[in-house]
Every structure is written in structure tokens, then in C-alpha cells.
Amino acid sequence: MIVADRKSLEEILSMIKDYKNIMVLGCKGCVTVCNVGGEKEVSILASALRIARQKEGREINIDTKVIERQCDNEYVAQLKETVGNYEAVVSMACGVGPQFLSEAYREQKFYPAVNTTFFGGAVTHGIWEERCAGCGTCIIHDFDGLCPVARCAKSLLHGPCGGSSKGKCEISKETICIWDSIVSKKMEQGRLNDLLKVRAVKDWRTARDGGPRRSIREELTQ
């Protein structure tokens, strides 16, 4: 899923400092699963904003709503009647949400309440980790399902580099060296030969480097 972290209250307050009547809009997709922009978090943010503004002596009206998915025009359309009732809308969806909203409602202003961080999952309660870089050409079958593009700090296709120490990456003791994991698994399984070749350079056109991407499924477009 897409993982996000909420922005600081100060940053959100500064975005909406000129408004007295806003909507905080959540999403039931990924941000609900990663506990950052679902029903509960929308309600918490709205309360925190109200209290902060009350303290400043500049009260604000905040209505809340959570839609199925902000990345889907069908659900975004449900806001048609209400979106115009506010000076601005604060979206708690990932970075996709405010853009679908902005494209659908040209006259309204939208602000993100979260920083979209990565594609990943929860490794334990409360801790999420990156797993995919969305490079557009998956090669993890060569590495037993582990991705060096997303998980090696240098995206090495031939690792581990000289900074790998005791299974950890040189950038931090909290970061595992994915190449250590790849090599260890290959060694355990007696398949080290898989790694003993020089791989062709990667074609980054399918990644963000090729420009904004589009995925077309012909059978669904008809």
C-alpha cells in the first residue's frame, strides 16, 4: 500500500491560517490502513486544529468527511454538492487525493495534511517499511523476491557495497542491508551462481525518469 505520515500541526495550521471555514477530508484507502488519514485521524486532526485556533482567538469551523477513495473520480464526484461550502479543503489522503480533487473542482483550494512516503507495509504494529520503488520493470524474481532498487540505499544491482556491516546498511543501524539478505538467502539455498554475472544496466524509462507514467488497459477503456 501507499504509506504516509501526517504533517505537523504547525505546518497544517500555517496552510489554513487565512481560512475560517474548511473541510478535512479523509480517505478509506491506504491511509486508513496505515492509520494516518482515516475516520479516526480525520476527527483527531479536526479537533486539534479547532483547539489551536481557539487558543489563538481565531475560531474556525471545520466539517469532516471520509470518502471511499480520493483516487477515484466516482467517489470524488460525491463531493459535488458540498465542496463549494468551504474556503478550502484539507485532504488526509496520499498525494494522489488532493490532485484528483483539484482536477475535479477547479474553483476550490486543496491542501495536503500528510507527506506521502513510500510503497510498503507494516512490519510490526506501528512500524511501516518501504518495499517497492515503482520503477515500472520488476526484477525481483532474480533476487528471490527482495528488491535492491527500493531497498538498497544506492539501488545497487550488484551488492553489497563495502559499507555493509553485520547485516545493516552504512546509512543507519536501523536499516537492513538488503544485499546482505539477498546474498545470505542465495548462499543458504546453494544458488550463489545466480548472482555471479554482470547485469545489463537498467532501463529507467519505465520509472519516473521517463516522465509521468500512464497505464492503459485496453479491455477496460472500451
Partner: protein, 322 residues
């Protein structure tokens, strides 16, 4: 000043890869001795030239580092060119952190055009260690692919995309190897991979754990890798017990045994640096005899003024003229 003219396009004589001094010394079977020089944090040519004086005549070639530890400095390409102007042979270092394949390729062409004949291919320390941790890193290709790219340019006279090169760069190509990073059992295979990618010579990370290095070199020799590539053992003399302790703890992939730290601590007051040099000299003596080791790469980091003395005491002088 050297003239930038078509003389730099002359093909290497005989079957030399580049005909660099380093290549000739190694091919002639001499025990090679290379040095290292970090460009200044600025355009201070005077400071750079001062370092050259300590190295000139004492080593066969000098590595010019490329924004080492991700701290920004004068470009390794420009510093290499200045080095040629002062009569030393550079080993131009290039990291994959800061350049994509276009910049890498054009810098290789530029390096050759400026008379550079040795190049060392590296991934590069992560930018989070340096003084611009906010920077975007590139890593379009990795060091293994960089070795392959530059040797393909040299041997097939083709760019990565298969197009022909109008005067191909003929470089003697090196790579790094850290026998002390993990997983240890894989390190010799990674070295084999770099040789398969085309590396002509290898310079290792600073060696302090001699037991581990002996084990590593036995693996190298057992696999016959020393016959396919020249391996230069990395030596950095310790200035103090504090430096030893810091390097062991703070520098990723550095293995500094407690016994060395204690040896330095045990030295008489004011004699720790001398003890560090003694250890380095003992290492060099052992490397001269160690099967599979073709030379020593001396990295006297910000201690270039000690190179003449170390070279002399290690019996490395005079350097061979081939």
C-alpha cells in the same frame, strides 16, 4: 602546462590496455606502490600542488578522490589534469553517486582527452555521510556496470548504446574491494564479479585485520583471481589510538582490531604516530611476500607529507622506470 592536443589520442603501444605508468609497472612484475590525494574543499590549486610534491617520485600513480565521504571538493577530473601538469600520474576516481550514464560517459571521454590513463570505478559513499545530505543521489548504474561501461568503451570502442566512438578512451581500469565488509564469505565472489566485469586492477579498503586479510587472499589465490587481475593491498597508517578507535567504530566496513588500538595506546607519549607507521611498514613487508598481492595502495589521508618517509623506510624507493 601540458598541451591539450592530439597527442593524447595516441593509442597505447604494444598490447597495453592504456600504457599508463601503473600498468607498465605492474606488467613488468614490479611490486606497485600507489598513493592517494584528496582535492581541496575549494579551488585552492596551491594547496593541491603542495600535496603533489610529497607524492612525486615516491609512488607509481596517485588516486584522486571523487567527493570522498560525499563531501564536496574540487572535481577529481580537474584535479587529475592538474596532477598531470605537475608530472605525476593520476588514478582518476569516479563514483556513481553523482552522475548518470551520460555524465559518466562524457567525463570518461574528457578524462582521456586530458591525458588521464587510469580510472578507478566506485559506487561512492552515501550522501548522508557528507556535507550535502539533502542531495538527490543518482546511482543510474553501479560500480560493477561502470567497470563494464568503461572497458566496453575501451575494448569494443562502443558506447553503452552500441554506437561507435570516434577515438575511444584507452584506460587502465581499477575497482575497489573491501574484504572486511559483510557477508565475509561473499566478498571473494564479489571481487570475482568485478574482475569478470573487466577490472584490470583492484585496490582494497584499508587493511588492519591481517588475519582476516590472509584468509581472504587465500580464497583469492585458490580461485586464481590474482592471475586475472592485479591486487593492491590498502594501507593507511594510524596517527593515534584515537584515530584507530574512531575508524573502527565510525567508518562503515572498517575492521580495526582491539590489539592494534592497544598497541598504539601502549606506545610512549608522543610516539603513537610512529607506532602507527611501524605497523604500516610491517604490513607492507608482509604484503611484499604475500601470494596474490601485486602492490600496495598507500592512503595517507591528510598526511601526504609522510609519504616520502614511508616509501623510503618501506624500501619502495626508487620507483621503477619502465
Amino acid at each position: 602546462m601540458s598541451e591539450i592536443n592530439s597527442e593524447n589520442n595516441v593509442k597505447p603501444e604494444g598490447d597495453f590496455k592504456s600504457g599508463s605508468n601503473l600498468e607498465k609497472v605492474l606488467r613488468a612484475g614490479h611490486f606497485a606502490f600507489t598513493g592517494e590525494c584528496g582535492p581541496p574543499k575549494g579551488a585552492n590549486v596551491h594547496h593541491l600542488v603542495e600535496k603533489f610534491h610529497h607524492l612525486k617520485g615516491n609512488v607509481d600513480a596517485v588516486n584522486i578522490t571523487d567527493n570522498q565521504t560525499a563531501v564536496v571538493r574540487m572535481s577529481s577530473l580537474a584535479a587529475s589534469h592538474l596532477m598531470i601538469d605537475h608530472g605525476l600520474e593520476p588514478n582518476f576516481q569516479m563514483v556513481c553517486r553523482d552522475r548518470n550514464r551520460l555524465a559518466i560517459t562524457s567525463d570518461i571521454l574528457g578524462a582521456y582527452a586530458l591525458g588521464i590513463r587510469n580510472m578507478l570505478c566506485l559506487s561512492g559513499d552515501h550522501q548522508s555521510f557528507g556535507n550535502h545530505p539533502e542531495a538527490k543521489n543518482v546511482h543510474d548504474i553501479d560500480s560493477m556496470q561502470l567497470i563494464n561501461l568503461v572497458t566496453t568503451m575501451r575494448d569494443k570502442e562502443e558506447f553503452l548504446n552500441g554506437e561507435k566512438i570516434d577515438v575511444a578512451p584507452k584506460l587502465f581500469v581499477g575497482a575497489a574491494c573491501n574484504p572486511f565488509a559483510d557477508p565475509f564469505e561473499y566478498r571473494v565472489y564479489r571481487l570475482a564479479n568485478k574482475i569478470a566485469a573487466g577490472a584490470d586492477f583492484i585496490q582494497t579498503q584499508c587493511i588492519y585485520n591481517m588475519d582476516k586479510f590472509r584468509t581472504f587472499m587465500k580464497q583469492v589465490v585458490d580461485m586464481g583471481l590474482h592471475e586475472k587481475c592485479y591486487i593492491l593491498a590498502g594501507v593507511t597508517p594510524m596517527k593515534s589510538a584515537r584515530m584507530a578507535s574512531f575508524m573502527g567504530k565510525m567508518v562503515p566496513g572498517m575492521d580495526v582490531p582491539e590489539s592494534l588500538i592497544n598497541r598504539l595506546k601502549g606506545a610512549e607519549k608522543g610516539k603513537q604516530a610512529e607506532e602507527g607507521i611501524k605497523f604500516a611498514l610491517e604490513q607492507i613487508e608482509e604484503f611484499k611476500e604475500m601470494k596474490g598481492v601485486a602492490g600496495v595502495h598507500l592512503m595517507a589521508i591528510e598526511w601526504e607529507q609522510m609519504v616520502p618517509e614511508i616509501a623510503e623506510r618501506a624500501g619502495m624507493l626508487p620507483r621503477p622506470v619502465v
